[in-house]
C-alpha cells in the first residue's frame, strides 16, 4: 500500500562516532503493521542505526519522521513516549531487580495508569509463561533466553507503536531462537509494527515481510524478504550457502 503514510520515515540519515562515520545517508520506510528486517555483518552499523532512531545517539545529518513528527533531535524519553520502544543488544535487563520490577520499569511512561500496567503485565506473562513462574526471581539469575523474553516484555510495557529489536537471537540456543522468533511473529500479527535487526539473516528474513541490507553504514539493498533470501549476492555474504 504505497499510498498509506509510513509510520517511520528515515531520510538521508548519517551518524558519527567522533570523526568515524557509522551510518551514511540511510533511507528507511516502515508502514504500520509491517515486520521489517535489517541484516548485515558485524560492524555494519545496525546497532548505531537503532540507537540513532531512538535518540540515544545523535544524528549528524538527515531526518527521522515518526507518525507525522520530526523526531530527529528529540531526547530518548520523548521518543519512547511517542511510541518507539527498543529491545537492546545484549538485553540490558536490570540484574538486581526482580522480573516483576523490570517489567514495571518498562511501564515508566504509563506508571500512573496502574490498571493498564497490571493488565498488560499479565498479558506479557501469558505470552511468556516462563517469566510468570519467575516473577519474584532476580533478573540477573535468569538464563539468556529468559532475559531476552524479559527484555521484550519490558519494551512491550512501554506501549510501543514501533518495536525495535536489536539482535534478539544473540547468544541463544537454536530452540530458544525459534521460540523468540515465534513470539515476534505473534506480536506482529497482533498489530505491533516491528523493526528487527539481526546478524542471523536467514531467520530474520524468514519471518520478515521486507528487508534492508546494511553494509558499512550504507543501505546496500532493499527488497521483499523472500527476494533477498533468493538473491545470490546476499546468500553468499550473509546466509553462507
Amino acid at each position: 500500500m504505497p499510498s498509506e503514510r509510513p509510520l517511520l520515515e528515515v531520510l538521508g540519515l548519517s551518524s558519527h562516532y567522533g570523526p568515524v562515520r557509522a551510518i551514511h545517508q540511510a533511507d528507511l520506510r516502515i508502514q504500520p503493521g509491517e515486520l521489517v528486517a535489517i541484516v548485515g555483518g558485524n560492524g555494519a552499523g545496525k546497532t548505531t542505526l537503532l540507537r540513532t532512531l531512538s535518540g540515544l545517539h545523535p544524528a549528524s545529518d538527515g531526518c527521522v519522521r515518526f507518525a507525522g513528527h520530526d523526531i530527529t533531535r528529540w531526547p530518548p524519553h520523548r521518543i519512547v513516549a511517542a511510541g518507539i520502544c527498543q529491545v537492546p543488544e545484549g538485553r540490558q535487563v536490570f540484574a538486581p531487580f526482580s522480573v516483576e520490577d523490570n517489567l514495571r520499569l518498562g511501564a515508566w511512561r504509563q506508571r500512573r495508569d496502574r490498571d493498564w500496567t497490571r493488565r498488560e503485565q499479565e498479558r506479557i506473562y501469558s505470552l511468556f509463561p516462563l517469566l510468570a513462574e519467575r516473577r519474584r526471581q532476580l533478573a540477573g539469575t535468569l538464563s539468556g533466553g529468559q532475559q531476552q523474553m524479559l527484555a521484550i516484555g519490558r519494551a512491550l510495557l512501554g506501549r510501543p507503536r514501533l518495536l525495535l529489536l536489536d539482535e534478539p537471537s544473540m547468544g541463544l540456543a537454536p530452540l530458544l531462537v525459534e521460540e523468540i522468533f515465534r513470539v515476534i511473529v505473534e506480536l506482529n500479527s497482533q498489530g505491533v509494527t516491528i523493526l528487527l535487526v539481526e546478524q542471523n539473516a536467514r531467520a530474520a528474513l524468514a519471518i520478515a515481510g521486507r528487508g534492508y541490507v546494511l553494509e558499512t553504514g550504507r543501505i546496500a539493498k532493499t527488497a521483499p524478504a523472500a527476494e533477498l533470501l533468493a538473491d545470490d549476492a546476499v546468500r553468499r555474504a550473509y546466509l553462507g550457502y
Binding site: 531512538s54 540515544l56 531526547p75 530518548p76 524519553h77 521518543i79 519512547v80 513516549a81 520502544c85 527498543q86 537492546p88 540490558q92 535487563v93 536490570f94 540484574a95 538486581p96 531487580f97 520490577d101 514495571r104 520499569l105 518498562g106 515508566w108 511512561r109 506508571r111 519490558r154 512501554g158
Partner: protein, 316 residues
C-alpha cells in the same frame, strides 16, 4: 510490614530516655546522632539509590544552618519561617547546580561537588557582614513550635528523634516507589534507563534537590539546637564524613545509612579519649570495615550473624 523496622526504631528512640534518664549518651549524643542520620539518609538517596556522588553535602547542611541563624538573629524571623526560607534557598540552589553538574560522571562529579562545598565554605568565612566570618554567629534562639519552646536536652531529643523518623519514613517510601525504582535503574545502567523512556537528567536533578533538602533541614535543626554556627561545622571534612557514613552503611539501604551515621557518631564519642590518635584509629577502623565488610556494616554484619546462627544450630 515494610515499616516494621521504622516502628522498631521509634520504639527504641522512645524507650532510651525512659530507661536512661539524664544520660549524656542518650540525650546529647542521641541528638547529634539523629541529625547525622537525617544527613546520611538524605545523601544515601543520591549516592546509594541514584549512584551519584556528592562531596559537597556539608555545603547544603551549612546553608540550611546559616539561613536559620541569619534570619532569626539578624532579622528576628520566627524559627519555622526561617527554616522554610532556608529550605527554599537550598532547594533552588541545588536545582540550579544540578543541571550542569549532574551531566558529569564519576570523578568529575566528585570534583564539581567538592568545588561547590569549598566555595560555600569560603563564603561562610569571608562574607563577614552576613555570616560573622570565622567566629560564626551566636545567640540563635531555640526552636519554637507554636508556642512550645524546645529548650531542654530532653525536648530536643524528642524533636530530633521525631524529625529523624520522619526522614527515614520519607526515604523508605521514596525507595519503594516507582521513582525509587527508576533511580536504581539509573544507578544500574543509565543507558538502559534512558532507553526505557526515563528522563534520567530530570530524575537525577530531582533526587539531588531532595537530598540537599534533607541536609538543609538537618542544618536548621542543628543551628537552633547548638545556638551557634561557625564555618568549621560545614567544612570539607564533614562532607567526607557524610560520604563515609553512607559507604559504611553499605549504600542503597536507608537503615544501612542510618546505622552508618550512628556508628560514626558513637565512634567519635568513643575516640575522644584518644585525642591526637583519634583520626588514626578512625582511619584504621574504616579500612578494616572496607576490607572485611565490603558491603558495609549493616549488610555485612547481618549476613555474618546469619552465618553464625546457622553454624550454631548445626553445631547444637
Amino acid at each position: 510490614m515494610r515499616l516494621a523496622g521504622l516502628y522498631a526504631c521509634a520504639a527504641v528512640a522512645a524507650a532510651l530516655p525512659i530507661l536512661f534518664p539524664d544520660n549524656y549518651f542518650v540525650t546529647v549524643v542521641g541528638i547529634s546522632a539523629g541529625i547525622r542520620v537525617i544527613l546520611a539518609v538524605g545523601l544515601n538517596l543520591l549516592m546509594g539509590y541514584a549512584g551519584q556522588i556528592s562531596l559537597g553535602h556539608a555545603a547544603f547542611f551549612g546553608m540550611g544552618a546559616y539561613a536559620s541563624a541569619i534570619l532569626t538573629t539578624r532579622h528576628a524571623w520566627p524559627a519555622l519561617l526561617a527554616m522554610a526560607a532556608g529550605l527554599a534557598v537550598v532547594g533552588a540552589s541545588a536545582w540550579l547546580l544540578a543541571r550542569p553538574i549532574l551531566r558529569l560522571r564519576g570523578h568529575y562529579l566528585a570534583m564539581a561537588t567538592l568545588g561547590f562545598g569549598i566555595i560555600v565554605h569560603v563564603v561562610m568565612v569571608q562574607a563577614t557582614r552576613w555570616t560573622g566570618g570565622p567566629d560564626g554567629l551566636a545567640g540563635i534562639p531555640p526552636l519554637n513550635l507554636l508556642g512550645w519552646s524546645v529548650d531542654t536536652d530532653l525536648r530536643w531529643y524528642g524533636v530530633v528523634m521525631a524529625a529523624t523518623l520522619l526522614a527515614v519514613w520519607l526515604s523508605l517510601n521514596l525507595a519503594d516507589s516507582q521513582v525509587g525504582r527508576a533511580l536504581r535503574a539509573v544507578h544500574g545502567s543509565e543507558f538502559a534507563a534512558r532507553m526505557l523512556g526515563i528522563d534520567t537528567g530530570r530524575a537525577k536533578t530531582r533526587i539531588f534537590v531532595v537530598s540537599a533538602l534533607f541536609a538543609a533541614f538537618a542544618g536548621s535543626l542543628f543551628a537552633h539546637q547548638q545556638g551557634f554556627v561557625s564555618p568549621d561545622s560545614f567544612n570539607l571534612i564533614v562532607s567526607v564524613e557524610l560520604v563515609t557514613m553512607v559507604v559504611l552503611g553499605g549504600m542503597a539501604s536507608t537503615f544501612g545509612a542510618a546505622c552508618g551515621a550512628i556508628a560514626l557518631t558513637l565512634l567519635h564519642e568513643g575516640l575522644v579519649v584518644f585525642e591526637d590518635y583519634e583520626m588514626l584509629i578512625h582511619g584504621a577502623l574504616l579500612m578494616a570495615v572496607m576490607i572485611f565488610l565490603p558491603q558495609g556494616l549493616f549488610v555485612g554484619l547481618s549476613q555474618a550473624t546469619r552465618r553464625l546462627w546457622r553454624a550454631a544450630r548445626r553445631g547444637g
